[in-house]
Subunit: 439 residues, 2 copies
């Protein structure tokens, strides 16, 4: 089983009292990484770790040089404005830093508390940033349920293509437009002509959608011309975040043949600022299972540890609108899903596939899972699915209806891990708002 | 007409004598940019400009602070290991630096020669690098001839899709695997199953191909959520290079539906190290023309200066093999084409399209044109076309045949501009070699 150690002890508490409140999401067992600066400032971002309702400034901590060995080296890699340096060091260093932070932050620790306490900043006063320089962004398509129901709309006669159960389908996305807490103008572009010989439509997208995904941050990369064996694949993963891969469905339908989505996707992609490490997720590993009738993957994609190959991560989509906010109504939960039962391909399989041809991954690269729709109703990871391609509006609790997103709609994606006897781990949230199209 | 000034005077000569030799490719009218280091060293790369058979070290020149104003600012942006800083400054600065360099390097200049002469390094002793940090790489598909003949092979009943003449089709590519002078192992991957219910094939690619493209380096970018008007689009372009978008056709055929090419392309892409600025190319601007029967582009893609919207750039593909090199035979010219008559979409249209939805471009981003096949025989920009999908081998002068690339084959792409009464401008070459697949 992916390693469990003293940092996973469910009995651990922190001297940062807010970390011990039930379901606060950032207990001492979590310790997710991000970058922050003081809200309202324009200072450079600095690496940090979350504990309760506080962030711990790792750049400042590194000045005190509290640790030697790998934990100290990992901390020194945080003297910069991104997590790339820490990511590039590899699992041994990530794990050493996690252990050192766990020991320093837990209740009963007396030596470190005076050093750390002044380096805590309330989350409410911290502006979180994009945690890494993302060199390349790849988006996959790992939910069979999503691929099938979307495929039905784009290709009614041929929903699931013959390669789907063999190839972890992926494509390259745009790195420059990935952000946190994004607000972006509704994209404008071409749409399919109404009839033979007619001009394509042009104007603001009318079928603007979210996509509920997780993001996989690559830690150590691989040199060009080498591949990562599946048995070693997870050691190249730093951790997971939440990802909203906004999609302009009408633009997509017209542009995507034959080379894939382009302007339908590259105007914005919103991640959660927190990256939860694979080590933190170890208590939530579950079996990676397929139906008996599914083909055995090719050898380079065979999971050596399928018994713990998946992750039990709960996913939620919430929507607020101009009207709901004006009336002070809470955002509506419009969908919930689970990474564990939405994924046909595993994290390890994505890394092994991406590099089988010698493609080089680098620290800070982001891999999207693709839309994580579950098998049932209410588990749709996009409005394309919830509204059946726009044919079936759904009601919001405050009386509005939606098929696709309207201006000023805000989509909030949340993710967490919970089970009896273990503190809940939050992955934070991805939050983004649609502004009116530019004229 | 895109601006012509004293730097384009065909009578100009340089005191660097090799620049004046006919067809040397790097006369004082060219002045392309790259980065270099002394061959065999591991020192950081430094920005440079080509003059004859020499490179001029711009990082070293900047220490002398020879110029004030925009030329001086542009030179100061060269105190680093990439051209990104210079690219981000914009056209006024690029142009000022070009003028200052032209004046300093031309015959009759006496003041600057003693300063510059010690900063010249023979090209033979210089190792050229990837000239910019490439944040994002987009590949387009602008040759109608290529799209049609490749379309016939992938979709015999439907070669040219209905969107082609409306949408400048593009997709995101992999930035991390772009290099100069690449040698890479033949990619390995999945290929289409031989029959219903059979497993896909797996092994080294058997249909490895080159693609003859030009690369467009973005200079000043645009903020996310804004668009670049087509009238302003070329001012965002720093210059052009050569690009080989290596393609594994058998991997591509199996993986590309529905999200586009992925592992078939991302193992390597080889650019020329030299970037020729749009200003240097001004004497080779030609009319951007379409057939009467082609649709008028939508307003956001209408060329304000179509009379000079294209570039007359000659393109050549050469191939050497293990056998030809052992026998000391020169590489064989296997195809030649021209950017001007291969392109259905212009450089300005690509920038305007890419940003119409608010997608942000950044200094150093690379846009590939797509394979620049011409309309005639001998003008194919890929082996897929030359060998008619592998069905028709072609002969090499030393007695070998080829359909697709074999191990140790080296593909050399060259590009230049020439016309009577003007010195020939070279874009250098893209050179890459196929190594045996990793076991």
């Amino acid at each position: 089983m992916p390693y469990l150690n003293e940092t996973h002890d469910p009995a651990l508490k922190s001297w940062v009292e807010s970390a011990n409140i039930a379901d606060n999401g950032f207990p001492v067992q979590n310790l997710p990484f991000s970058v922050f600066r003081h809200a309202g400032s324009s200072e450079p971002y600095r690496p940090c770790v979350a504990i309760g309702d506080q962030v711990l400034d790792l750049a400042a901590l590194s000045d005190a040089q509290p640790w030697e060995g790998p934990a100290g080296e990992a901390l020194r890699a945080c003297r910069t404005d991104t997590l790339n340096g820490l990511m590039a060091l590899g699992q041994k260093h990530w794990s050493a830093l996690r252990l050192a932070l766990s020991r320093a932050l837990r209740t009963g620790e007396t030596a470190m508390q005076p050093l750390l306490e002044p380096l805590l900043v309330p989350m409410a006063e911290a502006e979180l940033g994009v945690p890494a320089h993302i060199g390349d962004y790849t988006d996959f398509y790992i939910s069979l349920h999503h691929a099938t129901s979307v495929g039905k709309q784009f290709r009614p006669d041929n929903p699931l293509l013959p390669n789907y159960k063999w190839v972890p389908i992926g494509y390259h996305g745009r790195a420059s437009s990935i952000g946190v807490n994004q607000a972006f103008p509704r994209p404008v572009g071409q749409t399919r002509p109404a009839g033979d010989g007619a001009e394509p439509g042009f104007g603001p997208c009318r079928r603007l959608d979210y996509e509920l995904e997780l993001g996989i941050f690559v830690g150590q990369g691989n040199p060009q011309g080498t591949r990562v064996d599946i048995a070693d694949a997870e050691s190249h993963v730093f951790g997971l975040c939440i990802l909203n891969d906004w999609s302009a469905r009408d633009l997509q339908a017209w542009e995507y043949q034959p080379l894939g989505p382009f302007l339908a996707k590259n105007f914005a992609s919103t991640i959660s600022p927190w990256i939860v490490t694979l080590e933190a997720l170890a208590p939530f590993r579950t079996a990676f299972e397929r139906a008996e009738s599914d083909p055995q993957p090719l050898p380079y994609l065979r999971m050596p540890d399928a018994g713990h190959g998946a992750f039990d991560i709960q996913l939620e989509v919430l929507l607020s609108t101009e009207q709901s906010r004006a009336r002070d109504v809470a955002p509506a939960l419009i969908s919930s899903s689970n990474f564990g039962n939405a994924a046909y391909w595993s994290v390890a399989q994505l890394i092994a596939h991406h590099t089988v041809n010698g493609c080089n991954l680098a620290a800070g690269d982001l891999l999207g899972t693709g839309t994580l729709s579950g098998p049932g109703a209410g588990q749709e990871g996009s409005l394309l699915e919830s509204s059946q391609g726009g044919k079936k509006p759904f009601a919001l609790p405050w009386g509005e209806e939606r098929t696709f997103l309207e201006d000023q709609d805000e989509v909030i994606l949340r993710a967490h891990c919970s089970k009896p006897g273990y503190p809940t781990l939050s992955l934070g949230e991805s939050r983004g708002r649609v502004l009116p199209a530019l004229v």
